[in-house]
């Protein structure tokens, strides 16, 4: 069963294993890949949340993780009063309202200004949410263990296993991705949101209420972030710092995939998850803990070699 352990060993069933090279222990290798994909799906949906905002407003939301953290605390409070799923969905609604309100009231004035203004605003939001959460919920970690619906023994095929939590995470993440895909590719609203992200002037001219689309984008992004937050908190006890580390991986994932590409966010997230697992086990301990350093390494390497990421549009601005 998955348990609540330290932040760095996000998926404890793998982190404690001893490292034998892949060719000597292929099932360990397979195991690492599978749980890497599961944790990577978390990075992927948080990266999707980042991309959703970046694509439509060119704003890098540094507060994405803290917003998710805040709503996850709210979910925890709701769960002390109601069942997991109702509490989860109420938290998502609150997250959507919060995201939309933030765009309207806080981001709107800086959206068309120089990028530095919006950076400062989202950094400000970062500290505000962090301080607010500390003030409301205090410094003690909150565990989701008692409420968790992802319980039960791991499911195994020969000697490769996947924990219920990993499986649940993967399924929820897939649902989020599928829902976003259907929204953007199959509905008129999604088409209008894509149009707004691409060309605001043209969108206005065909009659799209552009401001509403931007508000909706933030609401959607905050909701997706909240899903990631609640899922993360199933394996790591929740403190005001929890989501920050996850956000670093998600940023690495978004940069790797290309900041304006949803497919990139997913591929980037899964790759980072697998990479994180493999490096945790196969990099010799003498090298030190590669964990979070790996996220920075990926960001720096991508920005040096291919700034647009794997799937991103090159930075040339259209006129």
């Amino acid at each position: 069963m998955d348990s609540i352990v330290s932040l760095t060993g996000l998926w404890p069933d793998t982190a404690v294993m001893l490292a034998a090279p892949p060719w000597e222990d292929p099932s360990l290798f397979a195991q690492l890949i599978i749980s890497g994909i599961a944790s990577g799906s978390l990075f992927a949906i948080l990266a999707l949340a980042i991309v959703l905002i970046y694509r439509s407003t060119n704003i890098l939301n540094f507060a994405q993780g803290e917003m998710a953290m805040f709503t996850t605390f709210m979910a925890w409070t709701f769960m002390t009063r109601m069942d997991f799923w109702p509490a989860f969905f109420v938290a998502l609604l609150v997250a959507a309202a919060m995201g939309g309100a933030l765009e309207r009231l806080v981001l709107r004035p800086v959206e068309d200004g120089p990028p530095l203004n919006s950076v400062i605003v989202t950094l400000g939001l970062f500290t505000i949410f962090n301080g607010l959460a500390l003030w409301i919920w205090g410094p003690l970690p909150k565990g989701f263990g008692p409420f968790s619906v992802f319980k039960g023994s791991a499911i195994c095929a020969s000697d490769v296993c996947i924990g219920r939590l990993s499986l649940g995470t993967l399924i929820v993440a897939l649902i989020v991705m599928l829902a976003l895909y259907l929204l953007f590719q199959r509905t008129g609203l999604g088409l209008a949101m894509r149009a707004t992200a691409q060309n605001r002037l043209a969108s206005q001219l065909v009659g799209i209420p552009v401001n509403n689309m931007l508000t909706l984008g933030w609401a959607l992004s905050a909701t997706v972030g909240a899903v990631a937050g609640v899922l993360v908190a199933q394996s790591v006890s929740l403190t005001t710092g929890t989501l920050f580390v996850i956000l670093l991986y998600a940023f690495a994932a978004a940069v790797l995939g290309g900041l304006d590409s949803s497919i990139g966010a997913v591929v980037g997230g899964l790759s980072i998850g697998v990479l994180k697992n493999l490096s945790a086990v196969y990099v010799p301990p003498e090298v030190g803990s590669v964990d979070v350093a790996m996220a920075f390494l990926v960001i720096v390497l991508v920005l040096m070699v291919r700034p647009a990421g794997l799937f991103g549009r090159p930075a040339a601005r259209r006129v």
Binding site: L191, Q198, P209
Partner: protein, 235 residues
């Protein structure tokens, strides 16, 4: 159907329109001429709600529209094909056309209208599933016009449809514009650098200079006007 009275507008501190007055009666093609920077595009932007007038009134069918948001103005029946086309380059031709119908709620009619656009511009039909980025300049202009028509406008604002196109293509597009205006009973406000071409299909024309109307007359009269010939027709 459209009337501007003493419209002033500015970009920050740059005055673009200094008291424009013009009328577009139902059913005709009205041409707006003028040198670079005269305020032609700004006039269209003021009508479609992209540029908020600081003074003056704009009325459409007798209703003031100068304080309405762009999406509201599209719903009233005014479509704007902007300078530089501004199509959605990363979306398909079909998606561009569907977005043109964004304000409409009659889904079945939209499908029929897309087919009608394809009959005016067959090349768009052939490339319906392609990314708009892959279209040639002329095809992009056709798409921009087609997209604007998808809103079922009664007034079409066209900003330099000939920009950057080969002369032969320009003639083709202009003859289609003429056909469309007749078949769809569309009023067209046409901004065009190529004055002789514009005046050849227009019924009436306005000449702008530094943000005001300096001359207006029927197209025929303007073609014969000495100063118009010297400044804009080049003979």
């Amino acid at each position: 159907m459209l009337s501007l009275r003493n419209v002033h507008a500015a970009y920050g501190s740059v005055l673009a329109l200094r008291g424009i007055s013009l009328e577009a009666p139902e059913g005709g093609i009205i041409s707006v001429l003028g040198a670079n920077g005269a305020g032609k595009s700004s006039t269209l932007r003021a009508i479609s709600g992209l540029l908020r007038p600081s003074e003056g009134t704009i009325e459409f069918d007798g209703k003031p529209i100068d304080k309405m948001r762009p999406e509201k103005i599209v719903q009233m029946g005014i479509s704007h094909v902007p300078e530089g086309r501004q199509i959605f380059t990363e979306l398909t031709v079909m998606e561009n056309l569907r977005l043109g119908a964004y304000t409409r709620r009659d889904g079945d009619a939209v499908k029929r209208d897309i087919d009608r656009i394809f009959s005016y511009f067959p090349v768009l039909g052939e490339r319906a599933k392609q990314q708009a980025l892959l279209l040639s300049g002329g095809e992009q202009q056709m798409l921009a016009i087609g997209r604007a028509l998808m809103a079922k406008p009664r007034l079409l604002l066209l900003d330099e449809p000939s920009l950057g196109l080969a002369p032969i293509l320009v003639r083709e597009i202009f003859s289609i514009i003429k056909t469309i205006s007749e078949e769809e009973k569309l009023t067209i406000l046409l901004v065009e650098q190529d004055a002789s071409l514009a005046l050849s299909i227009a019924d009436y024309g306005y000449v702008l200079e530094s943000g005001t109307v300096v001359l207006e007359d029927t197209a025929e009269q303007l073609r014969g006007n000495e100063s118009v010939r010297r400044s804009y027709l080049g003979y």
